[in-house]
């Protein structure tokens, strides 16, 4: 298959699109990753249009529309995946059908279903790829604007990126907290983390953390991505994974398999999709259900390093067996091939 994947490669979240693309390439598919972060070269970023107007969503979408059409014409994809909210306009998605014979999939990472752009993108799509299983029954169907083909992209890890490391003394000093949290700042996160400030808690994320009373001293104003994220997952005694209910309902973050693949210990908020995995609370992952539970479990696991070790080793085995991009990408590729086959069948003359 030739897959055109239009997506953000945002350093503040996971590089899931990059890992998926690489896994598909290793399966023999041809993938063109079209990401604004890569397309916008320094020449472009140093110019007036970028400096003045890139923050304007309509301008950004217009730029991406034109680039997408140019790439699609030369690459002629079988399949086009559109991510973001969305990164290209619905009218561009429609034009792609005329320019190529591609089937178009809309990738929904956060549940922004109430935005007009998302609804229009769903209407223009042949299939959907969602991260939250909560959306599966809402979107799957043949009537009322639903889509017949809705696939699930579970949380996965890349063992090349997320792996055990031997850390230097400096790394241990800088990243070896009792509790590490990486993520943006929001009221529920502030309320949840404040009681943990009595421990050696370190927070990496948005700069708003610097002005939160009681937590500002825990904040490290240092961007975290790539190798450094892997170091934190390796060095911290406990990595907290806290979800954002407005973004996702059943889904859990990629952070869970990523930390486990590093041989780290993750204490994650409960989410229903965890039950779709082989991970079991207290055996191969640690799960908390509310703030009091979180505080108790933090105390417990900090006091029991051998138990942490046992859980992270069991979790790592499960992740490497079942939750890697190599495994997930193969399943998704099979599902995409079914969409392409369905097109071929429907294109055959009847009788």
């Amino acid at each position: 298959m030739r897959i055109l994947f239009i997506t953000w490669l945002n350093p503040t979240t996971t590089d899931y699109a990059l890992f998926l693309a690489r896994a598909w390439q290793e399966l023999g598919h041809e993938v063109h990753l079209l990401a604004p972060e890569i397309e916008n070269t320094a020449h472009y970023r140093s110019g007036v249009p970028y400096l003045l107007a890139w923050s304007d969503p309509l301008f950004r979408q217009r730029v991406m529309d034109r680039r997408t059409e140019a790439v699609a014409c030369s690459f002629q994809p079988d399949l086009t995946l559109v991510g973001g909210s969305p990164l290209i306009s619905p009218s561009c998605m429609a034009r792609l059908r005329g320019l190529t014979s591609s089937r178009i999939g809309y990738v929904i990472s956060y549940n922004h279903l109430f935005s007009t752009a998302a609804v229009k993108a769903i209407q223009q799509s042949d299939f959907l790829l969602v991260h939250d299983t909560y959306l599966l029954p809402l979107l799957r169907g043949t009537r009322y604007g639903r889509r017949e083909h809705v696939f699930w992209r579970p949380s996965m890890a890349d063992p090349q990126e997320h792996r055990p490391l031997s850390l230097s003394a400096w790394d241990r000093q800088a990243y070896g907290a009792e509790i590490a949290f990486i993520g943006g700042c929001g009221q529920s996160r502030i309320d949840t983390l404040q009681p943990l400030a009595q421990h050696d808690l370190r927070i990496w994320g948005g700069r708003q953390w610097a002005s939160v009373p009681g937590l500002s001293a825990c904040f490290r104003d240092e961007p975290v991505y790539g190798l450094k994220k892997t170091k934190i997952y390796n060095a911290a005694q406990i990595v907290i994974n806290m979800e954002d209910g407005e973004k996702q309902i059943n889904a859990f973050s990629e952070r869970v398999p990523e930390v486990l693949a590093c041989g780290g210990f993750v204490l994650t908020e409960w989410r229903q999709d965890l039950e779709r995995t082989s991970l079991i609370d207290g055996e191969s992952v640690a799960i908390y259900h509310d703030r009091n539970d979180l505080c108790e479990k933090v105390r417990h696991y900090l006091a029991h390093p051998a138990e942490r070790q046992r859980i992270s080793e069991a979790g790592r085995r499960i992740v490497l067996r079942e939750m890697t991009y190599a495994v997930g990408a193969a399943k998704l590729a099979q599902q995409f091939e079914a969409v392409l086959a369905a097109r071929c069948c429907s294109a055959q003359p009847q009788g």
């Binding site: 590089d15 320094a42 020449h43 007036v48 249009p49 090349q160 990126e161 190798l227």
Partner: protein
């Protein structure tokens, strides 16, 4: 591994890098981040921090900035006295938002010149309160 950095470098198809020099960023974590990331990608390479980017020939010169590209324009160590050769491969590395680009030395000079001009122009436009009008115009002429 930093899959993103590897992806950008592979995409540029730059070939082997035996010597890498990094314009020393202020923060210690930034120095270590750059050295460690590049050492993971090029384990055989000789990697060192420098304050004189034109003093030592190398296969790859890394010029980091924290938030804005204009920080490199203002960097004393890259002023006129410093001559980056036209053929020198330069990795521009925006640490905050992971803006990573590869250019040749003459391309880098162009980027700096363009940024200097753009910043001046934008200050003027903002002063004239015509940003909204300019935005509408720019939507119409959005570049490829």
């Amino acid at each position: 591994m930093s899959a993103y950095l590897r992806h950008v470098l592979e995409r540029a198809n730059i070939g082997p890098c035996r010597t890498i020099r990094i314009l020393r960023p202020q923060q210690e974590w930034a120095q270590r981040q750059l050295v460690d990331e590049l050492a993971t990608l090029y384990p055989e390479a000789s990697i060192a921090l420098t304050d004189q980017p034109d003093s030592d020939p190398c296969d790859l010169l890394v010029l980091p900035f924290m938030d804005e590209l204009s920080e490199l324009v203002r960097d004393e160590r890259l002023r006129e006295r410093t001559k980056i050769l036209p053929d020198q491969l330069v990795l521009i590395y925006g640490l905050r938002w992971r803006h990573i680009d590869l250019v040749k030395g003459d391309g880098f000079e162009l980027v700096l010149r363009r940024n200097r001009r753009s910043c001046g122009l934008i200050r003027t436009i903002r002063r004239l309160h015509t940003t909204r009008v300019a935005l509408r115009l720019l939507r119409g002429i959005a570049p490829r």
